[in-house]
Symmetry: D2
Subunit: 178 residues, 4 copies
């Protein structure tokens, strides 16, 4: 990450400060799994972001990001949904603030199903119906939609980073689609 393009998640912290803190404190994150629903609220499709990581590898991920100081979880969710899916996605945020899962990303693998070598993140995960048109930000290659059956497959899980295949299955289970 160059000096000129600061981490959009850095808040009031410099990159160096954030890097220092990341090695010493768990951070609060949100994770949003975008879905399309039919008129009865049934999930018909699951949205994923196709992204190139710093090593140039393509992987699938969800809308995800850090909670800033003083920011409510709803504001965080909305900010990251808008940033990753564009201003015309029209997400319907859940009425209940209780997540379907709490994903504990630890810097070392094997303790929980989730890992993130950069940091310890406690991420509150929500399923979010999206009613508009998605227009992903430049560093996201594409937003792809797949059926819940395809989403639940082992092949899809293998393409997801940090154990998010498990999170995807938990999301599908929570909406009765596993």
């Amino acid at each position: 990450m160059s000096v000129r393009t600061p981490d959009p998640d850095s808040g009031w912290l410099s990159d160096a400060e954030l890097a220092e803190i990341r090695s010493r404190l768990p951070l609060v994150y949100v994770e949003a799994i975008p879905v399309r629903v039919d008129g009865l609220g049934r999930v018909t499709e699951v949205g994923m972001l196709l992204r190139a990581n710093q090593a140039g590898e393509i992987s699938r991920t969800f809308v995800s990001g850090r909670v800033m100081f003083g920011e409510t979880l709803r504001d965080t969710l909305f900010r990251h949904l808008e940033k990753d899916l564009g201003p015309m996605a029209f997400p319907l945020l859940p009425v209940s603030p209780v997540p379907f899962s709490v994903a504990e990303f630890l810097p070392w693998p094997g303790v929980t199903p989730f890992a993130d070598e950069r940091q310890h993140a406690v991420s509150l995960a929500y399923v979010v119906p999206v009613t508009g048109t998605c227009d992903p930000r430049p560093d996201v290659l594409e937003v792809t939609w797949m059926s819940s059956a395809d989403a639940a497959s082992d092949a899809t899980a293998a393409e997801m980073e940090g154990g998010r295949g498990t999170l995807l299955r938990q999301a599908l289970a929570s909406v009765g689609c596993l």
Copy 2:
């Protein structure tokens, strides 16, 4: 209930048959608490039906009704929302089929917070955002909207039938508004 206006909930059962079964088997019901939400998914208002019961007393209640043989819970929810709020209410059914509460209405009071002298009903309760215009059916006097603070008051609870004041508070708690 006259011969000409059959119980809309009777399914393939005559009134006499249903009355007989009501004294011997628990029935499956759904309960929907209509709400208005803002752009961040926060509940701003709660909807209630004002209804005259058979004794001519006015009381407050929710959208509620029986699950028919072969009918899915989502179909039941949609059918009762449409019947009680009209075809232009545009309810957003929840993505998760798990209710925020299971209200056990017993024919005798005191065992659970809920009672219904007619029957034993196990009612799955959902909070349902409504985005359109409500046009209640003839036997409903009015759909009234109140703030979540007013909805949580003791005065409102006292006007609700069968212990639904408790259900309302459980609903408010589940959306972070208690």
Copy 3:
């Protein structure tokens, strides 16, 4: 089922009456997935009942049964756990009455993940830690315990009746073990 061994679930209904009702009304059921937990509440093993069905085929299932007229869900859960696992199983019933899933068993397959050719059952499903010794009733061949990884496998799902492989995965997802 002979005249001398009445259906223990028949309540105040004769078998003929229950059979008649089963074709016309949804029934309320509970489903309990017995688990063993460690000192931190993590699920270590999942219990299943090995049972011969009326066709003489062996299949896996959970503790499951009908809610009787006037009976609370907690009483139903306790009654069926005791009946299927014996009086020394010492189950820890959940503090929250909200199920992790509502399984809709319909008499025809394909509408929901669950089917039961005998009836339409709406079944509230709970994960129940068991702390004692299981001593299954005569018509249950065995209570078997398996790791959550084995429980989540396709092979296990294939041995379960009525779509309960899906319910098992939903249960594992709800306890963070999928």
Copy 4:
């Protein structure tokens, strides 16, 4: 807090460092509401800690504390339950890692129901049955138990710090006791 009794929550951070971070990053907390349950899992009593704050005022609170770097939520819950209730409390941690509520404590009041002038804390709240004997740590005056009806009263809510009266009602709602 004197030099000789370091903050037991400070982790690998000095008090000065933690104070600095507290003004710039949200911290992850857990909150545990201890309860007594009967044989059917119904909550019979709710436990609260009576504590003198730094101004010498007595207030009621719950078991609560910070998640350390690299620590799982279950380890955090167990550590704080043992610290606040003693080693013989024998808490039964929940099988599901999903909290009944996420309490957002902000440094300024009015945005959420929760406030903490020291910091922004995102606290995952759980109801935890306790089966043994509570022996609170020295700086806790007492562990008191009250019926759920008393716990739900306005008087109790007024004695709780940081909006935890709301959290208590959400807890009671989640176990069907409001």
